[in-house]
Amino acid sequence: MLPFSFEYERPKSFQEAVTRFQQADQSGKEPMYISGATEFLTLGRINQVYTEAAIDVKGIPEGKVIQFDQGYLVLGANLTLTELEEANVFPLLTSTSKQIADHTARGKITLGGNICGQIFYREAVLPLLLADSQMVMVGPEGVKVKPINEIFYERLLLQKGEFLIQVATDTRYLHAPFISIKRRQQWDTGYPLITIAALKIDRKVRVAISGLCPFPFRSNEMEDALNNLEGSPQEKIQNALASIPSPILDDVEGSSEYRLFVLQNLLLDVYEALKFGERE
């Protein structure tokens, strides 16, 4: 039950959604797009989200596609994490998103909702950062396509009235060797202490991390340190840790020292699986 009153609309096309957003905005209704609506409900009930116009985009057909097109895998942003798992077209994405929340909740949480949510973790972003995916957004200026590493900085940098409709990934990344590990404080479901996803392509290992900072990230400096051909794996890991962005989370889930300790071990696991910084 949400404590505030709002208009609920379910447009059938993205053009209609954008128009509805603009109209509601002009009337001062602080509109927001929603898709799975799970964060809307859970944060809304504790007054951390407010709108007078919720525009539900999950019925828009372009947001539901799973298709291969000109060397790209195109995934609709309104697909639920369960739909992505069942299709299993991008194994690294499946393996990472399969660890989000729990099986039943994943039947409602959407890819777009996870990427654009307010919570820190947004673990489904990690594989997309590693695979240089293209983000397809729609808004008042029409359709926009941008590489994720240009438009995702701590969060997806959407303009007012824009929403994510699709994500396109070059198929050469789909079957590259990868590893995805989630460490929680306890239990096997829910939010991570730290999640790491890594992928090896063109003899280099890429890593993206969630739960260390208040945003998911991929760092070129960390990757350069890990892929350096000189030094032991431990030395490379120490050098990589020196390039971590700040701040490091320090909360009841884990102190910043503990998080760094867990990360070091995770990077060793990545080394075991993908052997970064070695001549082949």
Binding site: A37, T38, T42, K98, H103
Partner: protein
Amino acid sequence: MKLHTIQLKINDEQQTVTVRSGDTLLYTIRKQLGLTGAKPGCLNGDCGACTIHVDGWPMKSCLMMAVEGEGKQITTIEGLKDTPIQQAFVQHFAFQCGYCTPGFIMNGHSLLQKKPDADDSTIKEWLESNICRCTSYSEIEKAIKFALEKNKSS
């Protein structure tokens, strides 16, 4: 107050209800339709006590607004009649206070339908969506495995 008069198909019956946009499906089925089998627990998507089916898949009804339910096939525990999973829960004493039981049964029933060949890791993955404060979970797991086996041999 933004009200919507909507049609919900619940347990094979068409129901007309007037809801606020922000009413959860859990609230609507319990307070307006008198279907009190789905239980309110955390109201935050964590416990699974409110699990129902939407188009045959398990769904936490506290994570869904009633307005999102239009055009969907919704099933609550009241819509299951003497199914193998219900029989197995009774046979294996898979409950104590019973508060979590409708949620577990709805999840288990969907598992039987969607993944009749579920292996141990799939069973665990699905069952982790629900929390029980009384049993040791082993009775619940036994009941689910028994129903899966019975399903295979029938």
